[in-house]
């Protein structure tokens, strides 16, 4: 058991270091491509839109205004509203039992896109 622990821990850190070093230098993915002239939204501005009727959410670095969609969302408001005004990629990818949203949801999400999340001031 001790040997299993040592080998597993060593392999884990090796793989984490590999993913970190490659992922850090790799250009960020944006399969859909950002719309021309898309605005950048700082985290502080995102945080100001954290109410059910004024709900912005950042998913994979893209900010969406979901205020009008929220009443149509199938989940209970208590599960979705806490993510308003926040980076919600992990919640989006693990909505229930650890499963991600469907491709249909991904497509729907793009219609609410309003900008890119940035740590810098606009």
């Amino acid at each position: 058991m001790r040997r299993l622990y040592l080998y597993a821990t060593a392999v884990f850190w090796l793989l984490v270091a590999t993913v970190a070093s490659v992922g850090h230098w790799w250009p960020a993915a944006d399969p859909a491509g950002p719309p021309a002239g898309e605005r950048t939204i700082p985290a502080a501005e995102l945080a100001r839109h954290s109410l059910p009727d004024d709900c912005w959410m950042a998913i994979r670095g893209v900010v969406h205004d979901l205020s009008t969609y929220l009443p149509e969302h199938p989940s209970r408001p208590s599960e979705v509203v806490p993510w308003c005004g926040r980076e919600a990629t992990e919640a989006y990818d693990t909505k229930n039992r650890g499963r991600p949203h469907s491709a249909r949801a991904d497509e729907l999400l793009t219609t609410y896109r309003i900008g890119r999340l940035t740590e810098e001031k606009p």
Binding site: Y5, F12, G23, P100
Partner: protein
Amino acid sequence: MLKSTLHRLPIPLLLLTAAVAPVYWALPEDLSLPRSLGIILGWAGCGLLLGSLLLMLRETWLSRWLGGLERMYQWHHRAGVVAYVMLLAHPLALAADSWPQFPAVAWQTLSPFGPGWAVRLGWLSLLLLMFGLACTFAARIPYRSWRWLHASLGIGVLLGLGHLLQLGIEEPVLPLLALATVLLGWRFIRDDAGLAARPYIVQTATPVADGVVEIALRPLAEPIAAAAGQFVLVAFLASARFRGCGQFHPYTVSSIGIDGEIRVGVKALGDCTRHLQSIEAGVPARIHGAFGSFLADRPAAPQLWLAGGIGVTPFLALLRAGPLSQPTVLVYLYRSEADAAYLPELRALAAADPLLSLHAQATGKQPPDVASLLPATRGLSGSECYLCGPPAMVAAVRQALRWRGVTARHIHYENFDFR
């Protein structure tokens, strides 16, 4: 044979159920292979950790049902390490999902520096499990520090469940969090704080060899039920003239009196047991148990008992309980006469009981050649062999017995290793 197999089944079945049930609930559909694997590994690891928590409880009824405390602890360690490996692989598999096309997204998935407490709690949980297991495997840490460092694993489990809650998965996680809290609290309050133990007081303390003292404990309330071959967990508390150890340590019972008096043999192996060599009458203690079934259900066949050092204690308890009913050879190995606990009493018992044959031998500081100390193959035919002593000696004797044709089901042993 069937009884022995049934005896071994409950723990593997319990752990299998603990791992499979949450996976069945969360079984992924229509997802990529790495993502499905990540989800399955996460839930199976979580279930195994909860099963492992159940196996750390020290309850006599539970240990009887699950095949003994030593067996529970072996599986507690195995399940914990396997769960840890699964949980290490869980985030790597999730990151592998986007690795081929988007390595940057893979790192965003894995990175502990991203936004949100879900990933941070997951990392904190993994790091605590990593730290706790590293301490578990570090044999040189004193037991007093070791047990607190080992407890960090429990906090790691709670943080792991917090990671799931942060992901918004409340439906099964809140009951699982309640279960984990109950199991950890149960262990702490009933076992570590001693709520499940009974009050006793030290009656006498008699040196029986160099660095070995036999302590007699008188019950102050209803005594525990114990039998020869069992061990108890004892915490020696402080008195006006004695600094207590506080922690519960396992000691083999050397005698059970009709008035509920329990005697235990204590060899100076660590800080606490060295301190106990100078214990006096009147020191309060708490006893939890008894545990183990080492000498229970012995068949009527001839017996070979092999004891190394203080490992003679369970055999002595059986001999003190009354005359033997089957021919028995007791091979007692010790370093020198001064180290041989209970030797004069064993010689007197062998002289009085025609069914008992005692072979007492000083081995010196070198490991003994166990093969030369065992009876010939013919002498072992039809015998039941019971071994108690240092793990290395027990392993060597088991090997020697197998070479002489003794099958595993006729070889009985306990290691009494509780780290």
